[in-house]
């Protein structure tokens, strides 16, 4: 099929449906309510299930049940609602259940505002819920990329038996862009013979996260850690933009902000300032090796985020003391303009990269 103009939220929903995400449970919250609204109309057309649940606390547990029964269940929410889901996400990670959760990030903390932000990086990448677990985190920077990442998210959720978070933002959710739904093929998955589908012909299955014996619990913790190590080896995704050369500045940015950075890079070119962008697409696993490598080609590194500085911590860990790492951010729903980014880059270039 050709390209059609779609709102981000709706395109994400359609892509999930085509990827087999036919069981959606959600709660309205701005700026992503269109996902549920779209699915309320679409799911009956494809024989899927849409159900509005009473709270995000409950949603996460409905996902647990449905995933435990062997289906591709998913949800979407925005920052305050995602906070409420964190208990359930921790439980799903511990019980090794697959699910996909889309966070159309708004600003916070607290009730915050409804405009875009990248202030949920810590929550998504470092845990969010309690305990020793991680989620795979995918960060699209356009509506098309969000559409392309949904089938990958469902596949990896099933493959690793772990929650996968799509970290969008209010901009991606609300804007309309041309999209194409391309079919993707993945290697075969193992059958879900661990699911609670009725014990006919087999021993009973138990979906559980309680391990009172510390030796058993430690086994689980290390099993999960091994899973995340495997993700680090196999699942890294990133984009380098104008990074195949010596640089004055390496920008590190994701999502909507990365697009602003690309425009800034193009305009800096006219002023003979060589900037490049490393755009992580997986935030977990994080492309630390690549960032370190590219940082060696630059005089300094600049992390640009819609927050007061979250991903920059991981950039600093990756770069170490080998190069200066600076941060530029807007918050509260303010989206940085290319001009602001250019000004900051020039400030550090003129300052001799110090």
């Amino acid at each position: 099929m050709g390209r059609i103009l779609m709102k981000g939220n709706e395109a994400i929903a359609e892509s999930a449906v085509r990827a087999g995400g036919l069981w959606y449970f959600g709660y309205p919250i701005t700026p992503q309510s269109e996902i549920g609204e779209y699915l309320a109309r679409r799911m009956p057309e494809v024989g899927g299930v849409f159900l509005q649940i009473e709270s995000e606390v409950a949603v996460a547990n409905v996902l647990y049940g449905a995933a435990g029964a062997g289906v591709r269940a998913w949800s979407s929410s925005s920052s305050p609602g995602i906070s409420l889901m964190m208990e359930g996400v921790s439980y799903m990670a511990a019980a090794e259940l697959p699910c996909v959760i889309v966070n159309i990030v708004r600003c916070g903390p607290g009730l915050g505002g409804i405009l875009p932000s990248q202030g949920d990086y810590f929550q998504a990448v470092k845990g969010g819920g309690h305990g020793d677990y991680r989620c795979m985190v995918l960060a699209p920077s356009s509506v098309q990329e969000a559409v392309d990442l949904m089938p990958l998210a469902f596949d990896r959720a099933d493959r690793y038996r772990n929650p996968v978070i799509i970290l969008g933002d209010g901009m991606i959710g609300q804007m309309m862009e041309p999209v194409e739904f391309k079919e993707q093929v993945f290697p075969p998955l193992l059958p879900k013979d661990w699911a609670t589908t009725g014990c006919k012909g087999r021993k009973p299955n138990v979906i559980n996260s309680l391990y009172l014996d510390p030796r058993e619990e430690e086994k689980l913790n290390f099993k999960l850690a091994a899973k995340y190590d495997e993700m680090k080896k196999k699942e890294l995704k990133y984009e380098g933009y104008r990074t195949d050369r010596e640089l004055d500045c390496l920008l590190v940015s994701y999502g909507t902000t990365a697009r602003v950075c690309k425009t800034a890079i193009q305009r800096l070119e006219e002023e003979k300032i060589r900037a490049g962008l490393l755009r992580p697409i997986t935030l977990f696993p994080f492309p630390e090796e690549k960032i370190y490598e590219l940082a060696q080609q630059a005089k300094f590194v600049l992390s640009v985020e819609m927050s007061t500085g979250q991903m920059v911590d991981d950039v600093r860990l990756a770069v170490g003391r080998t190069k200066p790492v600076y941060f530029f951010g807007r918050a509260g729903g303010m989206v940085p303009s290319p001009e602001e980014v250019i000004e900051v880059v020039k400030k550090y270039v003129d300052g001799g990269g110090r």
Binding site: L51, I53, A58, A66, Y91, G198, P204, V206
Partner: protein
């Protein structure tokens, strides 16, 4: 030789960790008897709560999911909406269902999700060591009401059957008790009716079991049955509160 009474197939041989005289064991067995009788074992999924019965999955011979505290009705909703052909029951205590899980149970009931709830009301929090529950009786001494529950401060015990029966959505709602054999026989009948409704895809089903907690009440098992009879029965009447309309049942 005729076998008149033995452990049902759906109940595993694992000895339970429950206290002597705790009626969890009785209710577990009733569930297993009914599941066996209705031949539902191979398509049943139970949901264990957080509470004394958190390890319930060790005591049954069918699929189980262990759920977060209070969330069993949401988990049940997920299973039932994913696989409507499965028989699903949520097994919950008073903290799980009537405190932290109050929202989940009311909304699952209100949506008319077609699973069965087994609600163990023993008027106290067992697993955590005997704190007040929403169902604790006025004047009842617990570790967080050492002077007895003061209704002027924390209100009256919650009657879940009455609350759920007040919803418009059709349901089967009944309160039973398990502290003596006569009540056990009645409880089994109500529980079987609930599972029959689920098997026939009729409605949300809720059975509240008045239960004893000898350890945290501070009584022997026999004394505990007397305390239940004298203090809980008058406030929590054993009766049916709601039957689904137009089913003749």
């Amino acid at each position: 030789m005729k076998v008149l009474f033995k452990r049902p197939e759906s109940l595993s041989a694992t000895p339970t960790h429950y206290c002597p005289g705790c009626t969890h064991g009785v209710v577990h067995r009733l569930i297993a008897e009914v599941i066996d009788e209705l031949e539902l074992r191979e398509r049943t999924v139970g949901i264990a709560p957080v509470g004394c019965s958190v390890l319930a999955f060790n005591y049954f011979n069918f699929d189980f999911q262990q759920s977060a505290h209070g969330r069993a009705p949401a988990v049940a909703t997920g299973i039932k909406r994913a696989r409507p052909d499965l028989i699903v029951f949520a097994y919950q205590g008073d903290g799980d269902l009537a405190s932290i899980g109050m929202s989940e149970i009311i909304h699952a009931a209100n949506r008319g999700e077609k699973f069965t709830v087994v609600f163990i009301n023993n008027a106290i929090y067992g697993m955590t060591g005997g704190q007040m529950a929403p169902t604790t009786m006025p004047g009842q001494v617990t570790t967080t009401t050492p002077m007895g529950r003061d209704v002027k401060d924390v209100g009256y015990p919650v009657r879940m059957c009455e609350l759920i029966a007040s919803l418009r959505t059709p349901a089967f709602v009944e309160r039973v008790a398990v502290h003596n054999p006569k009540q056990v026989i009645n409880a089994r009948r109500a529980l079987k009716q609930a599972f029959i409704h689920q098997r026939d895809n009729v409605c949300f089903t809720f059975v509240e079991f008045l239960s004893t907690c000898p350890t945290n009440w501070g009584f022997s098992p026999i004394q505990a049955t007397k305390w239940l009879e004298e203090n809980m029965l008058p406030y929590y009447p054993v009766k049916n509160f709601k039957i689904p309309e137009n089913t003749g049942g």
